[in-house]
Amino acid sequence: MALNYTKKTLKHFLKPKNIGEIKNADAYAEIGNMVCGDQLNFSIKVEKGKIKDVKFLSFGCASNIATASIMTEKVKGMSLEKAKDYDWNKIVSDLGGLPQQKVHCSIMAVQGLKKVIENYEDKELSSKDAKKLKNIKTKKIAKKSTKKIAK
């Protein structure tokens, strides 16, 4: 069946934005797989609670590539909270529409984005915990050593 991709979709497919993988990214995520025919890998760099940079890799069809391209373009600079709830309908309307059978591509893109942000938050949380733990340990050691010296 004819897909009748919009000019904008084709543009984002043929010249996608933000492709690649960020070196030393703050978080990574992978969604989908080769078996079902669509896979997206995201990497992000975060600064002050905002997406400083986002890049993607794709094993997928034209709309898989185009949806990830336009979404990454739109969420750059956005707060993590806002980006986490990015509406897939927005991707569809930004592209000027997607054929019905390809709408799932936009859903996969936002799911991938959410996953990479959550991976970042999990990492942050555990590193904060680790820091706390480290602080406690250092204090204890410090106390012990002072005692030693006192003796």
């Binding site: 492709i19 997206l40 993607f56 997928g60 019905q100 390809k102």
Partner: protein
């Protein structure tokens, strides 16, 4: 540059065919079933063109039933033979890589109490004959195995299979839609009971299929309500279409050896150039038992549909067996039947040439294809 490499889907009609057909739209438009002089004239032209077809296929004109498509012809044969011969048994066998228009009616018959078995194929798409033999029982009415596959172009040994099936007491049908003109179709020599063709696959008109039937075997009509074709297929005779079918078949087999030699050489050149310019390309199907115009390739790490869309944007028309869609992530059941690793089912593209294909078109395609694959691989997560 416009390049059409999707000739397994359909072909461009020959000018000579279009010219002949036009006469039957504009001038000789009478109903072939009418007994007035105009109808009679059309009827006689029709009979002549049927004789031409029969002669090429080495059979008799009365054994040929023209339909609205190959899908209709396959439905007519599969359902018609099974339902008319219920007393013989209620089991049919089809290969696992048949076209959907064979698999569909076979599946429909399950609701009529039939059992359907699927004959397996090897990793290159050849039917495992020993396993097929084991599947045939006293209850088997009909076996249907395609002459050549539409996706991967693998050719079956139809003569051998037909002999085996008939020796074991079942009827045999082959869907030969992709075979013209790459294989000679001599119905008597092949020994088949039923055979299907389609005009638009060999530069004829769309909307004309053909069922060869053995008149000694019972068959039930799919479309009833008229006496055309001895009541086996009702509906006003598609005179222009059948005359177009006949002319296209005649032209297809004219200088056949020279024509297919040229196509085969071009395809081999095309594959050589692709391998020279692109890494990690794999051939699906058989190296030798293969239609001369078919090339089905796997490009690791990229999606077939993305390649298709990129090429399409450059004017090149190709096809992919798989398509991703929301409800139904369809990977090719043909490639699945070959046992290809599920990671590779979405990276395949079919190129199908015709007598109209030129070297310049293939050179352009190789250039654009290697650019597309390189580009898509540059941001693929699969290394």
């Amino acid at each position: 540059m416009e390049v059409y490499l999707d000739n397994a889907a359909t072909t461009k009609m020959d000018k000579g065919v279009a010219a002949i057909m036009q006469n039957y739209f504009l001038n000789k438009f009478a109903n072939a079933s009418s007994i007035h002089h105009q109808g009679e004239e059309v009827y006689n032209d029709l009979e002549k063109s049927k004789e031409t077809v029969a002669k090429i296929l080495n059979t008799k004109p009365q054994n040929l039933i023209f339909t609205g498509s190959a899908s209709e012809a396959n439905n007519f044969i599969i359902k018609g033979v099974a339902l008319a011969n219920k007393d013989k048994g209620k089991h049919i066998i089809v290969s696992s890589i048949e076209h959907p228009c064979v698999l569909g009616p076979a599946k429909d018959l399950v609701n009529e109490g039939f059992k359907v078995s699927y004959a397996p194929v090897d990793s290159k798409g050849r039917v495992k004959i020993a396993e097929l033999k084991k599947m045939i029982s006293k209850d088997t009415v009909l076996v249907s195995i395609m002459t050549a596959n539409n996706e991967i172009g693998t050719i079956q040994d139809i003569k051998k299979i037909a002999r085996l099936v008939k020796r074991n007491g079942a009827y045999f049908h082959t869907d030969a839609v992709q075979a013209v003109p790459y294989l000679k179709i001599d119905i008597k020599d092949l020994g088949v009971d039923f055979l299907t063709l389609s005009a638009h696959k060999f530069h004829g008109p769309k909307g004309v299929g053909m069922a060869y039937i053995d008149r000694n075997i019972k068959i039930k009509a799919l479309i009833s309500g008229g006496e055309q074709n001895d009541g086996l297929r009702a509906g006003t005779i598609n005179v222009a279409g059948i005359i177009g079918f006949s002319k296209a078949l005649e032209l297809a087999y004219k200088n056949r050896d020279k024509k297919i030699e040229k196509i085969k050489k071009l395809r081999e050149y095309f594959l050589k150039e692709i391998n020279k310019n692109i890494k990690d390309v794999y051939l699906n199907g058989h190296e030798t038992f293969r239609l001369d115009n078919n090339l089905n390739l796997r490009f690791n790490g990229v999606e077939g549909e993305a390649i298709l869309m990129d090429l399409s944007n450059q004017g090149i028309c190709v096809s992919t067996g798989s398509a991703c869609s929301a409800k139904n992530l369809k990977t090719s059941y043909v490639l699945q039947a070959l046992g290809i690793n599920s990671n590779y089912l979405n990276s395949n593209v079919r190129f199908s040439l015709s007598k109209n294909t030129t070297k310049a078109e293939l050179d352009y395609t190789v250039k654009k294809l290697s650019e597309a694959v390189k580009r898509l691989r540059s941001f693929s997560p699969i290394k």
